[in-house]
């Protein structure tokens, strides 16, 4: 795809984040969508493309009264929205549609109108993972961690620092769910969930949503807010079974999607001013830093423990507080994208000064899928 041909011209989250007991999941989609449409100064009738995950595009289109000529229901977990951005950018460039709305919402905490997730006993996961006691993401996603630690010499304290540093960012964000400072000792003494991970190394469970509106860059200057251009994109999937990953020392979905986006963007790692790495659990930023090529995996734990990603550090990472401290409704990718857009617009609560390039990297499932979007505010 060519660089900077498509821009984000509308971006918003749900009016409330956290616990939203007065809205169903589909209404959270609508709340985010209406906020994004207002942000872009558009009418619903201006939208001719729709993308969403978990909920179907027909569900969202019908509920909002949108008549799309382009539809994407890619649903590969929490990074689905990164893939939607990539697909929407290609579709707009190809002339299939002009203005795309991407929505996410999840009643992850209140569970109102939330679709059931189940694993059939005759699926591969049902036959070869479920019988061995996995029960939700906390029992599956951290399975590679001990191998990763042994291979690269990463310590428990270094991984605990991921949560500590992200809480520092969250403290600057009025909308963050958890703001009170924490220490490495707090993390390592918190309630055990699935060794080696404790509760402060696992994402929050909240309600919320977000929406993005994309259009061609040549139209973008006519919108009320500063356009944020799509500089590079990448995507991939590996396996729905964490046990069947090619290796626990790396994610193949990450090492495919990330470098693809960097190559398309034509940038080097030193050009990156701001970074988001989807942190459903505390090891993901380490995998991301290594697999995206910022540094060898051996250095990732030390890099974070030494404070390089904290406020004032040389590589600001997960500046909204992340899935660990900001919010996590179940599919966090949309919130990572929202923070990248805020940083590029210059309106983030913990704004990185003069940031021009933001890399936003997402994961879906337990390393099952990945999407990377590189944004810039300079055309």
């Amino acid at each position: 795809m060519r660089r900077n041909q498509v821009a984000v011209v509308g971006a918003a989250e749900t009016t409330e984040l956290g616990v939203i007991p007065n809205m169903s999941q589909i209404q959270l989609h609508a709340d985010a969508a209406l906020n994004a449409i207002a942000d872009a100064g558009l009418k619903l009738s201006d939208i001719d493309g729709i993308a969403t995950a978990v909920e179907t595009p027909q569900q969202i289109a019908h509920y909002l009264g949108i008549k799309p000529t382009w539809v994407d229901g890619t649903s590969v977990g929490g990074c689905s929205f990164m893939l939607h951005v990539r697909h929407a950018a290609a579709a707009i460039e190809a002339g299939l549609c002009k203005t795309v709305l991407i929505t996410h919402a999840e009643s992850g905490k209140s569970m109102i109108g939330k679709l059931p997730r189940s694993t059939p006993p005759d699926s591969l996961n049902g036959q070869f993972e479920q019988p061995f006691g996995v029960f939700g993401p906390p029992s599956m996603f951290p399975i590679p961690v001990l191998r990763y630690m042994k291979t690269y010499g990463i310590t428990h304290e270094q991984i605990a620092m991921v949560a500590v540093v992200q809480r520092e960012w969250a403290a600057k964000n009025p909308r963050a769910t958890m703001k009170a400072p924490i220490t490495v000792e707090d993390v390592l003494n918190s309630k055990m969930i699935a060794y080696p991970f404790r509760i402060l190394q696992c994402c929050l469970v909240t309600d919320g949503g977000g929406a993005l509106i994309l259009t061609s860059a040549d139209r973008a200057k006519d919108f009320p807010n500063k356009p944020v251009y799509i500089l590079g994109t990448g995507e991939s999937v590996e396996t729905p079974m964490v046990s069947q990953m090619e290796t626990f020392n790396s994610s193949r979905a990450f090492t495919t999607a990330g470098p693809l986006a960097f190559k398309e963007a034509g940038i080097a790692h030193k050009d990156v001013d701001h970074l988001m790495i989807y942190d459903a659990f505390a090891h993901l930023p380490l995998f991301g830093l290594g697999d995206l090529g910022f540094m060898p995996h051996e250095e990732t734990g030390k890099f974070i423990a030494e404070g390089n990603t904290r406020p004032g550090g040389k590589l600001p990472l997960n500046t909204n507080g992340g899935g660990l401290s900001y919010m996590h409704s179940g599919m966090y990718g949309m919130y990572a994208l929202q923070e990248s857009v805020r940083q590029m617009r210059g309106i983030a609560p913990a704004q990185v000064k003069d940031a021009r390039i933001s890399v936003c990297h997402g994961v879906g499932g337990m390393f099952a899928a990945s999407g990377t979007i590189i944004f810039t505010n300079e055309k």
Binding site: Q127, F128, P131, S139, L146, M192, F197
Partner: protein
Amino acid sequence: MAEPARAKPKPTPETQHFWDGTAAGELRLQRCDACANVYFPPRPFCPSCASRKVSVFKASGKARLYSYVINHRPAAPGFTPPYAIAVVELDEGPRMMSNILDCPQTPEALVLDMKLEVAFEKLDDKITLPQFRPAKG
């Protein structure tokens, strides 16, 4: 037993040979006749070269502990926490999820790369699960 049972696999036409194998006390893998690739989970073609000429064979049952978590909460139905959910690497190459029997479910006892051997846990007349225990000797 009023306690909820652990999730039970339901074989498909492509995986039946595996579950027949565990019921007979054998861990069965597949090998590609064309490129010799050994793979898991079961399917009637080689995921490396796409050949449909593949054979089922009895694996050695030897493995090493590749990685694990010790799950505390929430526990899956039929499990008493804390319990380890392990991924083992078979001597033949493929990895599979399993549990570790006859071993304390602690970080001290569960050492990465420790040698393991297959064990079989019968759930009912149709389903027997492959489990692993520390190798003797």
